[in-house]
Symmetry: C2
Subunit: 258 residues, 2 copies
Amino acid sequence: MLSKNTIKYLNSLKEKKYRDLKNEFIVEGEKSVYEFLKYPENIKAIYALPAWINQNIEKLKLINNINEISVDLLKKISNLKTPNNVIAIVKKTHSTIDFNHNNLILVLDGIRDPGNIGTIIRIADWFGIDYLICSPDTVDPYNPKAVQSSMGSLCRVKVLELPLDQFFNMLPHDFMVYGTLINATPINNIKLQQKAVIIIGNEAKGISNNIIKFVSCKISIPSYMHELKVKGKADSLNAAIAASILCYEFKKQNNNNS
Amino acid sequence: MLSKNTIKYLNSLKEKKYRDLKNEFIVEGEKSVYEFLKYPENIKAIYALPAWINQNIEKLKLINNINEISVDLLKKISNLKTPNNVIAIVKKTHSTIDFNHNNLILVLDGIRDPGNIGTIIRIADWFGIDYLICSPDTVDPYNPKAVQSSMGSLCRVKVLELPLDQFFNMLPHDFMVYGTLINATPINNIKLQQKAVIIIGNEAKGISNNIIKFVSCKISIPSYMHELKVKGKADSLNAAIAASILCYEFKKQNNNNS
């Protein structure tokens, strides 16, 4: 049994203001929790069905605060339609940016969809990108839906929320800043620099007007539409899709060069 | 005012069985409807707010069946949280596959998430891929959520649902069939053939066991994770993300070769 206060506390973490206040967030579901359990020092508490706890004793041995809960209670505190065995409270980790050991940094400028930001965190993890810089108007990466779609990758990727002009002012001069804009040079036709920042703009509006001045190289993703001239075309790719193609091409060129 | 029967009919199209029976589906929201209006012969009916109809008279001039509805009625028949001005009933178009004029074909083997299939349709449109073959256990591409996330691209990409063994049996022998499998050759290290089929497997299980036999070349997307040996890794990319990187690399190699 959990106290009313604990249930209230768990539910409060669904809101950004309480996540910011407490510096904690919720991770749900077996698969994601397994990823976070690789960093036991960041786990504040585990709430899980008794059977799940029994099955995972080995993985939980470094966790002090483990609580058995019923299926009904899990449903009550879960954000998922189909709650999945376990909920973890995880501490946010803070870090400063190490520009010396990181060649590629992603900047999100007003990404609004939690699913997109979660997917972008997963992409960053896949491509070995350590830092994701989020503008203050980007959706909270610790939002339950974002955490869910990041599939545990949030335990490895460092996410920093800060005003983008502040970030660009501290960025060393040997970094090239790439931004995607319609009709700019397709990425397959340019030699991309190793030390790079890629800005991913808002889903509808792209990169904000006050941020474009920081872009030192305008790029685009090549389109191969048949009916370009006849019947119009898809006017953009989804933000996460654009991010994935950019990271792939950067890492590919980078890797082949090194 | 719409009759009760019409409202019932519009709501019935939220279910696959009625979409299949009537060969029609619903498209919602200005942006998507504008795309479909480029093919007026496929529009069966438009239901929209009077103001929207007035603003779009030019675009609607080839549409016979236009119905004014109220905001309340729009809410009643819409699938969206925030209904957006207009709903269209669109006829499904059927086509046979033209293998002679299509070099790259995408096959979806058990994709379950409507958002993923919608995003993949948008990717296909961007990369000029005409055909998307869906296994019977793939989520219906005419599902409202799938149509929504395809952002109008469904009006250009031809989607065929058929058993995959049937498709592979009719595939000409000069097509190479690529399938993504863990630890297979990274795509950046191989010369990809021009005439190609790419299979995108189920989000959790990948390509089904009974379909793997049709794969003539096993490929993977390179990962560049730092902590590969230390703390585990993201075990997969989202299906739509994988599709986008594969299409990008195929089209890039193809385009440079031609």
